[in-house]
């Protein structure tokens, strides 16, 4: 089960962690290195998925960005914040419109920020209660600054009066 578009849904994508493994048939999210090495054969598949490590560069996917059904970004530790900028760049600079999934150390208390930065799917860490994690999306009703989920900063969206 994963969270997608703020609801719990069944999921049959398999995340392939090893870069040297043979890619099994079916819906597989492969490491970036595997994608780059086996692009010519993988591209023939009906559905493609790739995942980026927090140190990977998203720009290498630029030419193929529309071919993926899923792009995942791995959080090796929840405190490693590179994934937020990766998500932003995939959405804003590469124009990726498909499913953007957070994988790895994905915890309830970071989902709000992840969702703002462009993630729409979350593979919540297996030992955590995924129902509980859903609460993260209703904790805040507003935000000051723009990001992927809200392209305008608050000051361009609402009339905040004319000061004191």
């Amino acid at each position: 089960m994963i969270i997608k578009n703020k609801a719990i849904v069944a999921d049959d994508w398999q995340v392939l962690r090893a870069t040297d493994a043979v890619v099994p048939e079916g819906r597989v999210i492969v490491p970036l290195a595997t994608w780059l090495a086996q692009r010519d054969s993988l591209i023939k598949r009906a559905e493609l998925g790739v995942w980026l490590a927090s140190c990977d560069r998203p720009e290498v996917l630029r030419d193929d960005i529309d071919k993926f059904s899923v792009i995942a970004v791995d959080f090796p530790k929840f405190a490693d914040g590179r994934g937020y900028t990766l998500a932003y760049l995939l959405r804003e600079r590469l124009g990726y419109k498909g499913e953007l999934r957070a994988i790895g150390d994905v915890l309830r208390d970071q989902l709000h920020y992840m969702q703002r930065a462009g993630f729409d799917a979350f593979a919540v860490r297996a030992d955590k209660d995924i129902n509980d994690a859903l609460k993260a999306f209703s904790e805040f009703s507003e935000s000051y600054q723009a990001s992927v989920d809200q392209p305008l900063p608050l000051f361009r969206r609402v009339n905040r009066g004319a000061g004191s």
Partner: protein, 579 residues
């Protein structure tokens, strides 16, 4: 000052509710400490030796009296009757129970305050010139920009988990009183030749283990573009800053590694995508926020009242000389209330003093208070004709020590008495030094000198930029102190140089006396200590200090040293790392 609207209120209330839930999940065991730790840090809650410490944000150091009174309330209800003002213009409380933290945040929200992002690897409280809006040398009031950047940085979804903490400071004056050169990003509000307002941007300054003076990355960023520009700096840092070594994770290390040209190229490449876009500040937004920082209703008064106030009372004259600062409006002055009375930990105020500060602000200064990064408090808009009355009232409350800018106006971190990071104690050393040099005539004769005491290399007390810096170091489990001289903040910011091998607690006052002795012998008329150091170099100071053995005054450390070894007789906190 800025007042919250419905949006600000809503966000702060929602944050307080979120943290209340996180605390209850921690207490129930659902949230393990390693997951909770980062959440509590982003809400200002540290774990110290004896208890939790809560650091409350004071955006750019500005407070109203309801907020100051709330601090007094928190001190009484949840702490031990005092609070501690910090070098980030914040206030911290040292004896907090985890179970109380959510209630405190609710109390704070009721007066438009919070503890958001006062710790953790995120954008911290933005500091500012404490004389903003009243300084004679100010080109542009930096506070509206500080508030706009506060809102931009609050809960920024991309930058909540940076490689390391990130500090901004802003000045709008020609004389930098906000130490912008030692911040991750230092902003100086400037005007270009066409009279347009913009920012000179410094990047990669900082203290800590590797002190660095910031480098100019851009001489002029138009004010409209400042959000998009700093966002690009943060984005480059978030991607490329080191995460493998906590000591090499600050942006200064990245800027050094890439070189400023390459770093600038990366920032500008990113900026091309956002410059002029939706995050560009609008005139309407700037006007809206600026309207909160309009001057108070000053009266028309002659500027001769300051001279008239200089009567022959010696104590008052000393206070006038040290604690009263010029004001751009005739007939007014800015007053620094010293929190550096001998015997009191630098920056500490009792609940009664906090109430008194609020009362003085209401009586004398339009109900506004500022916190300085030197750990004092400022009443910025006092009528010169009322200085005598203010002085008497402040004196009664222990807030009129005439030592601003002098040796005993020390910056001092909490040190080994409270902080788990410290190698050595800071507060007892500050106390010992204050007692050794507790002679106001001598202090006035020595003149301006910045003495900064940090208990470890994290440099919370900015020891690198003290004219004299003291750093606590650990030698085989014992506390020692390394002395440096020649550091400076402001326009001529520089990093101090260590004079030689370190000293024991009981030797430090004698070492300071020797440094001052060299200064007294060699100074020209009105030359400050730091200028003499720059003129003579380090050698004569070093030579004299180490010429003969320095006596170790073992009595100086006093009783509490033994008490500390025996274990502090305090309430055991919840989840303490040490007990």
């Amino acid at each position: 000052m800025y007042r919250y609207d419905q949006y600000d209120h809503k966000l702060i209330e929602e944050r307080a509710a979120q943290f209340r839930d996180q605390i209850s999940r921690r207490l129930s065991g659902e949230l393990p400490e390693d997951e909770f730790r980062i959440l509590r840090l982003q809400n200002g809650l540290y774990m110290q030796i004896h208890a939790y410490m809560l650091r409350i944000a004071v955006p750019y150091g500005l407070l109203n009296t309801a907020q100051v009174r709330m601090f007094a309330h928190i001190a009484r209800k949840y702490d031990r009757d005092y609070g501690h003002f910090t070098t980030r213009q914040n206030i911290q409380f040292n004896w907090i129970k985890l179970q109380d933290a959510a209630d405190i945040l609710d109390d704070l929200a009721s007066v438009e305050m919070h503890a958001i992002q006062t710790s953790g690897n995120c954008i911290r409280n933005i500091t500012c010139d404490e004389f903003a809006g009243v300084a004679k040398d100010e080109l542009v009031d930096p506070r509206p920009y500080a508030e706009i950047l506060r809102q931009w940085s609050t809960f920024h979804p991309e930058f909540a988990f940076l490689p390391r903490k990130f500090k901004f400071s802003i000045t709008g004056a020609t004389d930098d009183r906000a130490a912008i050169a030692v911040h991750d990003i230092g902003l100086a509000v400037v005007k270009n030749s066409a009279g347009e307002v913009g920012f000179r941007v410094l990047v990669g300054g900082g203290l800590g283990r590797t002190p660095v003076i910031g480098t100019e990355i851009c001489a002029f960023v138009p004010w409209q573009d400042v959000i998009t520009y700093v966002e690009s700096i943060l984005r480059v840092y978030n991607q490329y800053g080191r995460r493998d070594n906590i000591y090499k994770a600050r942006i200064k290390i990245l800027v050094k590694a890439l070189g400023i040209e390459e770093f600038r190229r990366e920032v500008e490449a990113d900026w091309q995508h956002t410059r002029g876009g939706a995050c560009t500040i609008t005139v309407e937004e700037l006007n809206r926020v600026t309207a909160f920082f309009q001057p108070p209703a000053y009266e028309k008064r002659p500027d001769t009242e300051l001279a008239a106030a200089q009567h022959d009372n010696r104590a008052f004259a000393n206070w006038m000389q040290r604690n009263v600062k010029p004001h751009k409006i005739p007939g007014y002055a800015a007053v620094v209330l010293s929190l550096k009375k001998t015997g009191v930990a630098p920056g500490d105020t009792t609940a009664a003093q906090l109430d008194a500060i609020a009362e003085l602000a209401e009586r004398f200064s339009f109900g506004e208070v500022r916190v300085t990064h030197m750990q004092n408090v400022v009443l910025a808009d006092v009528k010169q004709s009322e200085l005598t009355v203010l002085w008497l009232a402040a004196k009664e409350r222990g807030l009129a020590t005439p030592n601003v800018g002098l040796l005993t106006d020390m910056i001092c971190c909490p040190g080994g008495d409270f902080c788990t990071l410290a190698n050595a104690r800071s507060i007892p050393l500050a106390k010992a030094i204050a007692e050794c040099f507790d002679d106001i005539d001598f202090l006035h004769d020595i003149g301006e000198i910045d003495l900064n005491i940090s208990g470890c290399v994290n440099a919370c007390a900015h020891h690198h930029i003290g004219h004299i810096g003291i750093l606590g170091v650990d030698k085989d489990g014992e506390e020692w102190y390394q002395i440096s001289i020649g550091g400076a903040q402001g326009n001529e910011a520089s990093i101090g140089k260590v004079i030689g091998r370190s000293f024991t607690f009981g030797q430090v006052p004698e070492v300071l006396a020797r440094l001052l002795q060299v200064y007294i012998e060699h100074r020209f008329d009105d030359e400050r200590f730091i200028d003499t150091v720059h003129r003579l170099g380090y050698a004569p100071f070093k030579t004299y200090v180490y010429a003969t053995p320095v006596e170790d005054d073992k009595m100086l450390a006093g009783v509490d040293y033994e008490l500390l070894k025996a274990g502090a007789p305090y309430d055991m906190p919840y989840y303490s790392p040490r007990f």
